[in-house]
């Protein structure tokens, strides 16, 4: 379980900047103005985590139950809510309504894991989804150019092996990219620049946490 401190944010888009010695760094900007809207503690919930909220949602988009649960704590209903696992001490230290500061959580050059929903490709065929080669367009082939070919044997085993690559939904699923690098932090604009690309479309919710495989796997 990744319990390294992290944030949730909105993907702004990709851009580039020049370093001091003139090198170009290609990066993705993430707008991270998330606040702590709740806590999960060991005693009460059996695990410790921070509930983070992002943005603000209109009344017509929320149920009254949800709205009042936030109003009771004197908060506006966030547009996106996500829990982020944290150590008991970190949960203890956080205050409700407090805005997470990027510069306290991340350092430039730090490795992070990025998690978000990838671009949906719809119901994709095997050539697009699994890089199959398709079939020949000539030599008597008839309307099978993009097919996957045989999917198994005959009476033995009499079934298709589990995990057989076939056509189906591609993309639009949660994807993690491990060990990306923090390129720059702009606290004033609440922007976090991450080197390279980040899965998903612009305006999609992105979760950034300390790299799990670089820091002893916790």
């Amino acid at each position: 379980m990744n319990t390294h401190p992290g944030i949730i944010g909105i993907k702004v888009g990709t851009t580039q900047f020049f370093t001091e010695n003139g090198e170009v760094v290609l990066c993705t900007a993430i707008h991270a103005g998330c606040t702590v809207v709740g806590k999960r503690t060991q005693e009460k919930d059996g695990y410790s985590a921070l509930v983070l909220g992002l943005g603000e949602s209109k009344n017509k988009h929320t149920t009254k139950a949800l709205r009042t649960s936030f109003e009771k704590r004197g908060q506006k209903t966030p547009r996106h809510v996500q829990e982020i696992r944290a150590t008991a001490e970190a949960v203890e230290a956080a205050e409700l309504g407090q805005q997470l500061k990027l510069e306290d959580i991340f350092a430039v050059g730090q490795k992070v894991d990025v998690r978000s929903r990838s671009n949906g490709k719809g119901f994709a065929g095997v050539m697009k989804r699994h890089n199959f080669r398709g079939a020949k367009a000539t030599h008597g082939a008839h309307e099978v150019y993009r097919h996957g070919g045989s999917i198994g044997m005959a009476t033995t085993p009499g079934r298709v092996w589990p995990g057989k690559k076939m056509a189906g939904q591609e993309g639009n699923k949660i994807v993690s990219v491990l060990n990306q690098r923090v390129a720059k932090i702009l606290p004033e604009q609440q922007l976090l620049l991450i080197e390279g690309s980040v899965p998903g479309a612009k305006n999609s919710v992105v979760r950034v946490q300390g790299a799990v495989k670089k820091n002893g796997g916790k």
Partner: protein, 118 residues
């Protein structure tokens, strides 16, 4: 859209407006800082601008020259802090914005008419 302007703002902070304006077909001298180990020196690359990619802070331009009979093209980021200065040595008259046709030509055919000869 708020997100668009955020990115714009970020890129605008990268802009440098110290260079003279030049066009495709112009011959320029680009003074480029080269880092070799510890030392830094300025290298001059002189040639014809065959492409300008105008994209805000991400703008680049391509300079072509023929060096010892071998065509050499170099792409410079326009707003790079490594560009010390850009000198325009002559302005050319061309009818298109991408001068890729020069790649197929050599010698006299690869010339561009100077603005003064018009």
């Amino acid at each position: 859209m708020q997100s668009v302007s955020l990115l714009q703002e970020l890129e605008n902070s990268q802009l440098r407006s110290v260079h003279p304006s030049f066009r495709c077909g112009d011959t320029v001298r680009v003074h480029y800082r080269v880092v070799e180990g510890e030392k830094t020196r300025v290298q001059v690359f002189q040639g014809l601008v065959i492409k300008r990619h105008r994209a805000g802070a991400r703008s680049t331009f391509t300079v072509r020259k023929v060096s010892f009979g071998q065509g050499v093209e170099r792409i410079f980021p326009l707003h790079s802090p490594r560009i010390e200065k850009i000198e325009i040595s002559s302005q050319g008259v061309v009818r298109r914005s991408r001068l890729y046709y020069l790649r197929d030509r050599t010698g006299k055919a690869a010339r561009v008419r100077d603005i003064k000869d018009r």
